[in-house]
Amino acid sequence: MIVEGSYPLPGSPDVIWDLLMDPDVLAKVMPGTKALSRTAPDRYEGTMGVGIGPITAAEFELTITLTDLQRPASYTMQIDGKGRFGFTRGTANVELASEGVGTVMRYRADLQVGGKIAGLGQRLLDSVSRMLTRQGLDALNRELTARLT
């Protein structure tokens, strides 16, 4: 599953970069993430609960590892989530480019899903990933706006 797009954000790439490295902010960008902590300079661990309609118990153990860090231009996230519902894992590339007074964030995630999510959830996967992406980006935008004002 490929999730990609771009999103305009206020602030410079440097400001956004710092925010994105902050586990509290990262947790907000990944909707449903609870208690994300930085266990190494480039590694975050926590749990993520995704509730879509009647599906209430989708809790994942989440590990995010950052690689190819090119501050403030780009980095790659290795995402690894496992839970009773199966797994999701893959890589997400994030690029930050200044544009005018702000920054354009380009993202492209290539995610695998497995287990019950893959076998039973296909009807909703596309909509859910779009929704989560939108929620995450909106959250990032709010966070930025709050910090910049």
Partner: protein, 292 residues
């Protein structure tokens, strides 16, 4: 495929149900259960506590509401499809009912449950948006009335607040000179539709389009009101070319349909184009019939 354990409550009054829902955050209402119980059997849903609404006779039943109609939240689909007053007063809804799943599911599934569940592929949310129904909500804090178009807020999301239940739905009377049509395309009869469309068209005295409502299902996070397509029809003479243009507009500009194993985004746009055209054509013919 056995459900996980839960605490079970079956209150005998609406007040009791609302109190439970207010006091227990983890309480999940159980109406017909035709979506919730499969999810529990797959262990995709594990509610800690179910509040079974099936003893709440006060929430079931169909009554006249002025010239319109009021359907209690716990009214079964099968009761709606068998009620002559629905056929007369809410013909779009009546035409839609046989498309919902299968008789065994309709004997158990409820109108309120379907709305509260807000599945983007469900028929009833789109129909309620098309007919501009009002959703009645109750909690221990009191009652609210929410227009259907505002009730559906996203993917399986509604305007329901914690502790709140859908108690009824009110459908306004069909305006004069109005035609209706429901169309959907499913892989098999009764399956989740790949695309569906519910249409109401009202003519003015001169036979032009006074008002058109087009609500689509399975092409977004919830029911989608095809406002651009509706705009194309507004004040037009509703001839075949306008209908074609509106359908094209709706398929192109009103939706961002998902892709899945049954239908790609492009296929959903094509189905939207064709079904909207066919539904409008039928609805306009009925409106003209009603204007004679």
């Amino acid at each position: 495929m056995k459900p996980p354990p839960f605490e079970y409550y079956r209150p005998s009054s609406l007040e009791g149900a609302l109190t439970l829902l207010a006091e227990r955050e983890e309480a999940k209402p159980l109406a017909g259960g035709q979506s919730l119980i499969p999810a529990m059997n797959f262990r995709l849903a594990a509610p800690a506590m179910l509040v079974d609404l099936n003893d709440l006779g006060e929430l079931a039943g169909i009554t006249a509401a002025g010239a319109g109609i009021r359907i209690g939240a716990m009214t079964r689909h099968s009761a709606v499809e068998r009620d002559r007053r629905i056929a007369e007063r809410a013909p779009l809804l009546w035409e839609t009912m046989p498309h919902i799943a299968h008789p065994q599911i309709r004997n158990r599934g409820t109108v309120g449950g379907s709305l509260a569940h807000a599945d983007p592929a469900a028929e009833l949310p789109a129909v309620m948006v098309a007919v501009e129904a009002t959703v009645l909500l109750r909690s221990t804090r009191g009652e609210r009335r929410v227009p259907a178009a505002e009730f559906f807020t996203g993917l399986f999301r509604t305007a329901l607040l914690p502790g709140e239940l859908v108690t009824a739905i009110e459908i306004p009377p069909l305006p004069p000179r109005t035609g209706w049509a429901f169309e959907e395309f499913a892989r098999r009869h009764g399956d989740y539709a790949l695309v569906g469309v519910a249409v109401l068209v009202t003519l003015d005295g001169g036979g032009r389009c006074e008002r058109a409502r087009i609500a689509l299902l399975s092409v977004g996070d919830g029911p989608v009101l095809a406002t651009r397509a509706m705009g194309t029809l507004q004040d037009s003479d509703l001839d075949a070319s306008v209908i074609r243009e509106a359908a094209e507009r709706g398929a192109r500009d009103d939706i961002e349909p998902p892709s899945d194993i049954h239908a790609s985004e492009a296929y959903r746009r094509q189905l939207t184009r064709v079904l909207t055209r066919r539904a409008l054509t039928r609805a306009v013919a009925r409106a003209r019939e009603a204007s004679r």
